[in-house]
């Protein structure tokens, strides 16, 4: 499952990609919203770990605009419920996460992101790589013409 609680912890690990490699950008996503149990104590403990600007921009990429640019000072129940929904209830079922620095693609299918190494991708993902290369080439060709 890719929910924003996981996404906010992920960073690109491609070789040599060590800066501006976070947050991964969502593209072509399919989303399902599922309710889950609200746990305010967990959220209060988790807030210091959150990279707030990344969470705000990523949630907006997923079409949710409920978070404000700044983390509010008052962590009241209304805010925690909003945060709970953003972190736990938006499920990205299909799509791609793209590194803002090196453009490495991490596909998500059936709710599971594939972060496996490029070697694994080469062995298992050749069809995927070939199609993304073709797409890129087509896009470039179109741009040029």
């Amino acid at each position: 499952m890719v929910r924003l609680i996981t996404h906010n912890l992920l960073a690109c690990h491609a070789k040599g990609c060590t800066s501006n490699n976070f947050p991964l950008q969502f593209k072509d996503v399919q989303i399902v919203v599922r309710e889950s149990e609200f746990n305010p104590d967990f959220l209060r403990g988790f807030i210091p770990k959150i990279e707030w600007p990344a969470l705000v921009s990523s949630s907006r990429e997923l079409g949710d605009t409920s978070l404000s640019d700044q983390l509010p000072e008052m962590l009241d129940d209304a805010f925690l419920k909003t945060l709970h929904r953003v972190l736990f209830e938006i499920h990205v079922e299909e799509g791609v996460m793209i590194c803002p620095n090196c453009s490495h693609h991490y596909p998500i299918s059936n709710g599971i992101p594939n972060m496996a190494s490029s070697v694994t991708l080469l062995i298992r993902g050749l069809p995927y790589l070939a199609s993304s290369w073709l797409n890129m080439k087509l896009a470039n060709d179109l741009k040029i013409s």
Binding site: H13, S36, K49, N110, M115
Partner: protein, 275 residues
Amino acid sequence: MAADFVRWWTVRWGSCDARLSSSATPMAPPVTITSVDASSPEAYELANVHDVYDQIAPHFSSTRYKPWPIIATFLQSLRPEWVGLDLGTGNGKYLPFCPCAIGLDRSRNLLDIARTAGGMTREVVQGDVLENYWRPGVFDYVISIATIHHLATPGRRKRAIQQMLSAVSPDHGRVLIYVWAVRQDEQSKRTIPTTDSSQGQDVFVPWVLSDDQNRIFNRYYHMFADGELEELVITAAGEIGLYVGQGRQEGIEIVQQGWERSNHYVELRRYRVQG
């Protein structure tokens, strides 16, 4: 594509299935000694670990499971607001016992089971324990139960430990690692080809499908010698500049280590003195 690789490796390595089936009985077939092609441990693991798990995944029970005492105690000692990583989560059997944890595994088919382990939505990620896909030090704890014994060289097992140490908080991060031991207890159902527990041993452990006794899948394991896990941890930590022991500004403490139910385990804690 993956199936082609298995076929290629089977031809390349000689059919281990054929070797086993001659001695296979309706009971569990014996564990056999193997040796790793050091020139390509990655391809070796792909054929003898990852593809095997992908094929036998549906036969893994995802029903109730009770963690062993050391693991249960460790998980109960974690703070409820902590976030952890289960490296080599398999079918996710530990996820229901963890405070918020993300399960990581190479096997896509096992993850399809893990994503609803214990009847709840779980966070799972397909990936390699040799890589770190996370903001550095973002996790409060890491567990890796019965995973790094599937890595085919000492260097790769060491690197996996280094990734665990880097994934947890430098201030309080906790790590629990379990691996299979040469030293087996009397409850072990396996016949082991060696009893010299001072030497690690590379083996194939057969998995027989319950509905087709003729299909045997061999999984690669490195059975750890007595003391091997601790030594590996100390080398791994030293190489990334982490002192092992107490009393420094920053380092790793070995909280406990030992042997339980035919496994070696080690529990680690990172610490950093403030100010």
